[in-house]
């Protein structure tokens, strides 16, 4: 059983204040920037993974790193938005249905704050209106779980187009 659900804070209403005064310390749940690429750190894009499901989150982390990118993982939207890594993120891979703030809401919050981050949505509840809204708001992809790894790689390629490949 996933105990994280039970402790997920509802912070949607507090979000703007938090964003204007970002906390200096690191998010407690952003541990896995364990790539052995210190030499090319400046060149390697960092992918932020936001998903409440740990197996998906860890699997995505592994896949992204196997592709040569750096990865940071967050268990919920608020954790990502509060972290100091928003600005350094090259691309966001986000679940849609998450406790507290949904992926779509997180997208809105980022836009509102002036971040134009490429976002790849992954969801187990694919719904057309949601997909349309996400894509209209500038999302790169809207993938249904489970998705083929090839689709994710294509999406990442599209999102990071113009950047140096790892």
């Amino acid at each position: 059983m996933n105990a994280e659900h039970s402790v997920a804070p509802s912070i949607a209403s507090q979000l703007p204040r938090l964003l204007h005064a970002p906390s200096p310390q690191q998010g407690s749940a952003s541990p896995t920037s364990s790539g052995p690429e210190p030499a090319h750190l400046q060149e390697v894009p960092t992918i932020s993974i936001v998903d409440d499901d740990p197996s998906v989150r860890v699997a995505m982390d592994s896949l992204v790193r196997s592709l040569g990118y750096a990865a940071r993982t967050f268990a919920c939207a608020a954790e990502f938005l509060q972290s100091p890594h928003v600005a350094s993120t090259a691309c966001v891979i986000a679940d849609v249905a998450m406790p507290g703030m949904t992926g779509i809401e997180m997208q809105d919050a980022l836009i509102e704050e002036g971040y134009r981050l490429p976002i790849i949505f992954i969801t187990a509840f694919p719904k057309e209106p949601m997909r349309k809204r996400a894509l209209d708001a500038g999302a790169v992809c809207f993938l249904s779980k489970p998705f083929a790894a090839r689709s994710m790689i294509d999406c990442l390629d599209a999102a990071l187009e113009g950047r140096a490949a790892p």
Binding site: H5, A12, A149
Partner: protein, 724 residues
């Protein structure tokens, strides 16, 4: 014609006899009959001796014998009146008897009928008789003294004595006799002086006749008094006694009959009995006649109607009286009022019938058991339940023979222990009948002690087979309903379940791809690949667990009661509902106590209860704002021997008016709801021996639904497996 002195004596004796009979007729017979043949004096004496020596009962019979004879003869006389009237000497005697007895029968002046003859008594007739006696005495004295008739006129003083004896007592008779003797002597002295001769002889003869008449009259009077005293005994009995002739005409009617039927003797006499009493015979009259004539007796029950038109049930005994030639002459009928007894008997019979019918309808037999003596009583229904004929003597062995072999040790132990500890018995067991069928029994018995302080059981055996079958059918129906609602719930959870399966599937695919890529590197990262593969396995396990849970919920299976930790079904339920909670923006919070005592229950059904409660809570919160949607699922020990599970939401709470109906079937607040969810929860929880109730949070908002389950070992472990 001058009769010889012997002839006069004979005549006097005959007169005495007739007088005696006449007076007896007045006292014993309902009507004095001029046509009554005279019983012989020998008969009289025999009767008197019998009366004096025999027991009261036979005395009464003897008296009745007399009455019957008299009555029978008088009846015959009435019937044959014309023929008898032609027999002049007979008529003359009777007329004389009647006159001597003082009965106002005017036989010479037309035919008197029995009906219009008044019932005479000594006292009613006495003024007239006294006058007659005085007149006769004066006439005799005048004739004797002042005429020159050369006959013993004074002999006729005997008549005066006899007349006097009919209304005077012993002393009076002696006084009258002395007076007559004095008159005789006086008449002799006045007419003849002191001369000695034939007149003196006539005087002596007359005195002698007066003396004999006096003696006989006194003796007869004493006999009559004795008979009358005995006859009154008949009036002392409470039984109604009456005598019928062979035409059913009432000839005698005692005081008991007067009291029972309400007719005085003078109203009842000479009536036809079954017309007066409107007799309803319990068997054909011909049959009664046949028995009576055959054996001389009949006994039975009759329904009579009293003078006030109410009915009376009597136990009736008839005896037939025959005359010397063996011809039936009369019937003695003795009736005892049985109405009250009959009513009591009827009430008892009715009560017994009701009890028997009640036992038959309720399939409940009663029994008694004295362990000390082994005495056993079974009611008819108990025989029926055990399948034995009622003729058989009930024994412990017979009962044991029917008890199902599997239940025998338990039943035996229960009875033994109850007998030893003098405790009431409350037991359920099965019977195995000879045809192989099974009966379910409930045995209840109350322990009492008899006068010797020995324990005795009074109990009931109930055939509860039908109830058991109904219970089984109900359980099956509930089980099927629970299954249907589970499947319905799974349908509602389909999206949530898909999510729960898709998550690990996404993990598997992603981990697989990542693993391949780690291996495909110029410098393969074996460690990363290995961890990816481990996550593949773990995700696959997670997916299959979800699918297994779905399969459990979807399958239709009899409840499987096992010992389990209540947290297991709670956590299994979370796997299916958390996605739904997530989509509805509901925060699920588990507050499960660890190390709880085990409960006995069906895993799937308990999981169903929790899913239903959680979904109910989620749906209750749909109308509230997102941040407030919070569902807390908790478990904790409760009251020592129970476990409490609570599901607390932050919705609008429960309307107090609907609170009680929350768990009723088909009660729903949802537009498309069936109203079965909470109802199923209740039947499952109660089937597990637990309790479920709802309350509003204090402080609010929201509601909390709690249910308890007994921990094992508890009462549940005593139940027959397969029954929740």
């Amino acid at each position: 014609v001058l009769p010889a002195p012997e002839l006069r004596l004979q005549s006097a004796r005959r007169c005495l006899d007739l007088a005696a009979v006449g007076s007896r007729l007045r006292q014993l017979s309902p009507r004095p009959s001029r046509a009554c043949p005279v019983p012989s004096r020998v008969g009289n004496q025999r009767a008197i001796i019998a009366i004096l020596t025999a027991s009261p009962e036979s005395t009464m019979l003897m008296l009745l014998h007399y009455r019957l004879r008299i009555h029978a003869l008088s009846t015959r006389a009435r019937i044959e009146a014309a023929a008898l009237r032609r027999r002049k000497q007979w008529v003359g005697s009777a007329a004389l008897a009647g006159r001597l007895g003082g009965a106002p029968t005017q036989s010479r002046k037309g035919r008197p009928t029995v009906r219009d003859t008044p019932h005479p008594t000594v006292f009613a007739a006495s003024p007239l008789l006294a006058l007659a006696a005085v007149s006769i005495a004066l006439a005799i004295f005048v004739i004797d003294t002042f005429t020159i008739l050369d006959i013993a006129i004074a002999v006729l003083y005997a008549v005066v004595v006899l007349v006097a004896s009919s209304f005077l007592g012993r002393r009076g008779v002696i006084v009258v006799a002395s007076t007559c003797a004095a008159l005789t002597v006086l008449g002799y002295l006045l007419s003849h002086g002191l001369s000695v001769g034939t007149p003196l002889v006539r005087c002596v003869i007359s005195l002698f006749a007066i003396g004999i008449a006096t003696l006989l009259a006194l003796r007869n009077q004493a006999a009559v008094m004795a008979i009358r005293g005995q006859a009154q005994l008949l009036d002392l009995t409470h039984d109604a006694i009456f005598v019928l002739d062979m035409n059913d005409v009432i000839a005698y009617w005692n005081r008991g009959a007067e009291e029972l039927y309400g007719w005085k003797a003078d109203k009842a006499l000479n009536k036809v009995s079954h017309e007066l009493l409107r007799t309803s015979f319990s068997e054909p009259r011909e049959e009664i006649e046949r028995k009576l004539l055959g054996t001389g007796r009949w006994e039975g029950e009759l329904l009579h109607t009293k003078s006030d038109a109410t009915q009376v049930v009597v136990s009736s005994r008839w005896s037939l009286q025959r005359n010397g030639r063996g011809q039936p002459v009369a019937i003695l009928e003795t009736n005892t009022d049985h109405t009250e007894r009959k009513r009591a008997e009827d009430a008892l019979r009715r009560s017994e019938a009701y009890l028997a019918e009640g036992q038959r309808l309720s399939l409940t037999g009663s029994f008694g058991w004295k362990p000390s003596t082994g005495e056993i009583f079974w009611s008819a229904q108990t025989y029926q339940i055990f399948g034995y004929d009622q003729g058989i003597e009930p024994t412990i062995e017979l009962a044991r023979h029917r008890v199902h072999p599997e239940d025998l040790p338990r039943a035996h132990q229960a009875f033994e222990r109850a007998a030893w500890e003098r405790r009431d018995i409350d037991l359920e067991h099965r019977l195995l009948m000879p045809d192989g069928s099974i009966k379910h029994m409930r045995v209840l018995a109350h322990a009492t002690t008899d006068l010797s302080n020995r324990v005795e059981f009074i109990g009931a055996v109930m055939d509860v087979t039908a109830a058991k079958q109904a219970q089984g059918a109900l359980q099956q129906a509930q089980s099927e309903l629970a299954h249907v609602t589970r499947v319905t719930t799974l349908g509602e959870l389909a999206a949530s379940i898909a999510h729960e399966v898709n998550q690990p599937l996404a993990g598997i695919v992603t981990n697989g791809e990542a693993g391949l890529r780690w291996l495909a590197r110029e410098q393969p990262r074996i460690e990363e690949a290995r961890r990816s593969l481990e996550r593949v396995i773990s995700d696959a396990d997670r997916a299959s667990a979800v699918i297994r849970g779905i399969r459990d919920l979807a399958k239709r299976a009899a409840p499987d009661m096992v010992s389990l930790d209540i947290n297991e079904p709670i956590e299994a339920a979370m796997a299916l509902v958390q996605s739904k909670a997530l989509r509805q923006q509901v925060t699920l919070q588990l507050e499960l106590a660890r190390g709880l005592p085990m409960v006995r229950g069906d895993r799937v059904q308990l999981q169903q209860v929790i899913i239903n409660l959680v979904m109910n809570g989620i749906e209750a919160m749909l109308g509230t704002s997102d941040w407030a949607r919070r569902l807390v699922i908790g478990s904790q020990p409760y009251e020592g021997d129970q476990v409490l599970v609570s599901v607390q939401d932050s919705g609008p709470g429960i309307d107090p008016e609907t609170g009680n109906r929350l768990f009723s079937a088909f009660y729903t607040t949802k537009p498309d709801g069936m109203g079965m969810g909470l109802s199923i929860c209740r039947s499952i929880v109660e089937g597990h021996g637990g309790r479920i109730w709802a309350a509003n949070n204090d402080p609010g908002p929201g509601a909390i639904i709690r249910f308890t389950l007994p921990t094992c070992p508890g009462r549940l472990s005593d139940r027959v497996p397969g029954q929740p």
